[in-house]
Symmetry: C2
Subunit: 459 residues, 2 copies
Amino acid sequence: MDLNSLFSPKAIAVIGASPEEGKIGNVILTNLKGSYKGKIYPINPKYDHILGMNCYKNISEIEGEIDLAIISLPSKYVISSFKECQDKKVKYVIIVTAGFKEIGGEGEKLEDELKNIIAQGETRVIGPNTVGIYIPRNGISTALTVKERSGMPGNGNIAYISQSGALGLLLLDVFAYQNIGVHSFINLGNRVDLNENTLIDYLADQKEVKSIMMYLESFSDGKEFFEIAKKVTQKVPIVLLKGGITQSGQKAASHHTGAMMRSMEHLEGVLKQCGVIKASDETELVDYALALSNLPLMRGNKIAILTTAGGVGVTCSDIISKSNVLHIANLSEQTKKEIMGIIPPIGSANNPIDMTVEATNEQYQEIIKLLNNTDEVDAMIVFALFQSPKVDENLIAMLDRLKNGKPLIIGNIGGSFSHDMVCKAMSLGIPFYPSITRTVKAAEALYKYSIIRGEANGN
Amino acid sequence: MDLNSLFSPKAIAVIGASPEEGKIGNVILTNLKGSYKGKIYPINPKYDHILGMNCYKNISEIEGEIDLAIISLPSKYVISSFKECQDKKVKYVIIVTAGFKEIGGEGEKLEDELKNIIAQGETRVIGPNTVGIYIPRNGISTALTVKERSGMPGNGNIAYISQSGALGLLLLDVFAYQNIGVHSFINLGNRVDLNENTLIDYLADQKEVKSIMMYLESFSDGKEFFEIAKKVTQKVPIVLLKGGITQSGQKAASHHTGAMMRSMEHLEGVLKQCGVIKASDETELVDYALALSNLPLMRGNKIAILTTAGGVGVTCSDIISKSNVLHIANLSEQTKKEIMGIIPPIGSANNPIDMTVEATNEQYQEIIKLLNNTDEVDAMIVFALFQSPKVDENLIAMLDRLKNGKPLIIGNIGGSFSHDMVCKAMSLGIPFYPSITRTVKAAEALYKYSIIRGEANGN
């Protein structure tokens, strides 16, 4: 389905626009006014002007076409307002309002009614009960956040679909802090109409999207997801965090979203079949999406570890060995000899390659180039440790020049300066991982996806 | 053994002191001059003054007693210099110099010679091949770091013993960034004399030490470690990251530290018997030490989850359920009713307790107080999410007032503002964990240690 008018609308109406600070209808309007370049139509019968813009009594008053309307009215007014949108031939409506199926009883009835009405027209709906969408490239944000306490990321190549609004916004804050960009964020809400399947199908064809990450507590249509995901993952990786996979989690999810889930004991197997990479928590979700968005695929699982801190190499070896997904590459005597020609004599060319605290940016570069030219290695886990006295921030530019060779999965351990370096690297599309385990797991996800894409053989 | 003169020396000699910036003998002197309150004696026959201090030709020239001498000379001068320290009855010597056993050949011989000489006197030695010690409470740092790129933490209650110097300093940088304090940091180096066993035995009796965290690649004396650890862990928790537990890791460790290790297939079982908490990577090492230093023990494993973000509660439930260490507490109808009297009606009192995005600081407080007074719950995993519009930074002060009730293991997901809140909380001794998994794992470590201490029953 062509969702261009949802992701790149030319005109947006805000139904329930408000001049009162803190109200959602005010926040949305303020967000749009600051950054959205298309036409904005505030709608509220009580006002002539809001934030210096003409305000309309209702949507039918507007002369031009409306691609997207955002409804933030009390739930009892939503249906009549939506009908007006249908009459106006609005292409997409986001219903922010809560108080539908998730509260049960009357809310459930209201949602059924809404569904029936949606079915009678062409207008497609996201929500209700959603924080909506965030599309930095087009300056669109419908999210109610406290700006001083919650960051919003810049433009990037990860599309993020979340069934949970709150977890959605939390991770956007994490993204902003680490300078990771997103192509788009969509909070599904109660999914009366548009669901994750339609969205991934569309997003996979957008050239700016390099990975799709999803948080779901239930599948709208599991069979359809399977079919679409199978196709999509041959073009673009999907990383999924499925909430409610255990009985307790399911009980919690079932309250929270109002959705009952079928038992999904063999989730892992099913996801593997359709090529979806499974995340076990929100950190893996972000980490894997980041790796799959930015790194070239791996031809195999032979890993070289490059470090300036012996203990980091030792621990990384342990973690790789225990996981059994990746292998620590066996380097030939010839390769080791060449490595010893680059690093200080007290270093080690046995993999992990320990360049010692004396390492320089240039030594990193020479070893990466050397390993790019040998079949003994498929990818490199590189610990970029800025505490080493002879390494400095130019290491980032060097890694940037080398990022299109064999995959470099970069680990980093540190504090304030390291955080600045991470942000700098992220802006160049170089993922940095702040722990040894997270670095190894990102490499594993990359290898798994490389198998899915037929680039590497499974083991 | 009484190591007071090592940890709180009254006079320090720096052998190999240098006026040249960047040289280790200059860095150590500069570090001490800035913060150490005792007497400092620079020693170098080439200078009369260094950094405005009288410089001595050799240690015998000094009239007063020397508690601690730091030797940073080329390896060939180390032995004669150490002999002078022995003659002077210096109590402790830290030999920073590398080029001993870890380089093999001549270095190994030199180390054997050094050992023999040490055995002939009373002077005890840390090193060689060590970054030395860092004791913020006494203003002592022998570590060579680039200050702009590597932070050093403030004073705290964690004692940190590391066989790896580089990994040691990396984690100190992590500590500094998150405002976690340390009681002391000791890099063991080649352990010609003082080893981890002597250190933990001493540290466990220091009232300022609330936990000991260790990175080891080999045990100096495994049997002795077992015996001492068994005794120590009844007073103070020990968290251990053992590098080189797999074959590859062991190969890497063996190069790096010059120590050959015995096979330790059943490490986990052995550590359990002596009450040591095992960490699988550097993140767990810090996380567990932090929890065990600051949180009260748990009486059992019935966990209440408190969140303002439904998806976070769902994911947390899944993670707890999968691990089988903790249990999600079953709340009685009465308790649930009381919770519903506190939280918004759209929230959920089923555990996880979802206070929704409408939650306030006061609601957090009331629920924690309520759960403190019921046997249905042994500890609470509380997600302190500052993005919720009605929650603000006063939540920290509230958590501070409640920190001596049942253990509160606090999770937090977010960006810049959250980081500031984490730093604030850490300074009050309230551990914050930046991911759901890490929060759950910290709670697990606390429960495991509570069993070791006989406070909780195992399951």
